[in-house]
Subunit: 320 residues, 2 copies
């Protein structure tokens, strides 16, 4: 099995640093600040409408780097495989990873594989760590969010979570809901290239939009006001959420982020995002205010105000 | 559980970059080539004589960076925990990690935790990725190994593998065999500081000494001759190997490496290693020759020559 896996990887990822080095990849001096991140991926099912655990492992880590304002360059790739995993499944996921790194413009430069006995894992877990460079002097951080900032999302919410849940619950919809998993580094770079002074970026993964906004409000000691009618949610996703009793504002996304920019930059930022394939449905969903520190308020579609809390209780398990 | 884990980590690893950044750590420009590595750790049992999975996850990755000639600086830390894992076990391992990073002089700068349902994991898996800098222009690589090079190990072999196996097999020895798990970066730095032109370094983990030598012989297209009587193996370890029918030259180590240096440097290198606490039993075990390309020969204690092959068949599972 180890030999087969070895062949699978070396034939798929023919990168210089993988061939030359044994224990670690040696990389040229990036001549810039670097960003470093890691995530383990345990999503079930491993293959789902719109993606698989391999794509998720690449884009998830690419997006974490992009959210830090970094240009993603290098990924590590580490598998924990359960004995008995069909090689054809692994091969499919390795090919997905290859396509995903090519699409995102990053390289797998180092890796590892462990096999655990049957019943001691769950087919496939993947860890990716990532290195990116910050080729600018900007600080992209929750601490920079301030009263007057516009809150922009790059598209419709809750698709990743609902794609997974629909499969798990065996729900049959007229049209299958596909995960939105996508690499956001290109769109973020377009914002930088367009001269937008982005204050903060955050991907809307576990806990969805509401968790991200609450975390940022808390870190920046600001209040926020979100207009529910401006938050894009597709009809089929909204229907699926209703059936399962889930609020789309709390459901995970894998190709969506929120950007905070000062009001004067907001129209230009929106335009840049809408010109990018991953931001066509971008929308200014609200504003940061200086009142009611740490509180995120939601103006519902019928005009009522309510507090948009952190998710209390269990989040959906193994969504990424 | 997530909240408890969060508290456990933030109270233990109070590093600047962890506090300020959400998705990724932003690090100063290292102004040098960087090395990047990853490993997932699935060792069973997770706590063993001489160490635990946490120590292993730190030192294993530190050593991979050191073997690439890099000074390890930053680690990522990612857990996959099985539901129901006793918090007290996790706490012990997190404290081990804290002690290990302090000992090795590295920092945990980013992390992640996933929880999987009971029966879908095995108490605790850890991934660490690591970044190191190469603050020299040397190339440390199997390709630099050449005829005449001395082969040096920094101490006695097979302790890690036998410590794990003894627990698993329920063997009772008079004195418990302890894993040799240790961070080799300091000793490697001492070699560099001493002006040794190290050609190649390799840690003797899965597959032990013989796998490492064979891989390097193959990559460098050289032959090697190893004198078994020069290879340090402690008596209790040798006895345990005999009971289990294992050859210590194939058993995993976690604090041992092999260094290739030109013959003129070999005495000085040996002296530097022996002056370091982790190299007190360092020994020149053999030489690289230009004959019989790719073949590693072993001169046994009774003087007979045999070929020291790659391990064929199964390696010990889940040894790291």
């Amino acid at each position: 099995m180890q030999r087969l896996i070895g062949k699978m990887f070396t034939s798929t990822f023919k990168y210089k640093s993988l061939e030359e080095c044994h224990d670690a990849a040696v990389l040229e001096n990036p001549d810039a600040r670097i960003a470093f991140t890691t995530d383990s991926y345990v999503v079930q099912p491993t293959i789902f409408p719109g993606g698989d655990i391999g794509i998720l492992a690449v884009y998830g880590t690419v997006n974490d780097l992009a959210m830090a304002g970094a240009r993603p360059l290098y990924l590590s790739l580490s598998f924990i495989l359960e004995e008995g995993l069909p090689m054809v499944d692994l091969w499919q996921i390795v090919q997905s990873i290859k396509n995903a790194v090519d699409t995102a413009g990053v390289q797998i430069v180092t890796g590892d594989t462990k096999v655990v006995d049957k019943g001691k894992g769950d087919s496939i877990f993947i860890n990716t760590a990532g290195i990116g460079i910050l080729n600018h002097n900007k600080i992209i951080s929750a601490q920079r969010v301030q009263a007057g900032d516009a809150i922009i999302v790059n598209g419709d919410l809750a698709r990743h979570g609902m794609a997974i849940m629909a499969v798990r619950e065996g729900l049959e919809f007229e049209s299958s809901i596909k995960s939105d998993v996508a690499p956001l580094n290109g769109m973020v770079q377009a914002l930088f290239d367009g001269g937008i002074d982005v204050h903060c970026l955050r991907d809307l993964t576990r806990g969805g939009l509401s968790s991200a906004l609450n975390e940022i409000a808390y870190a920046a000691h600001v209040g926020m006001e979100v207009d529910e009618s401006k938050v894009p949610v597709h009809e089929d996703v909204a229907a699926a959420c209703e059936i399962l009793g889930l609020d789309p504002l709390y459901v995970a996304n894998e190709g969506k982020c929120v950007a905070f920019v000062s009001e004067k930059d907001s129209d230009k930022a929106l335009q840049i995002m809408r010109s990018h394939p991953l931001g066509r449905e971008a929308s200014i969903i609200g504003l940061v205010n200086g009142r009611e520190s740490n509180i995120v308020q939601l103006k519902s579609k019928i005009g009522a105000m309510r507090i948009l809390d952190m998710l209390s209780g269990e989040q959906l398990p193994r969504i990424c």
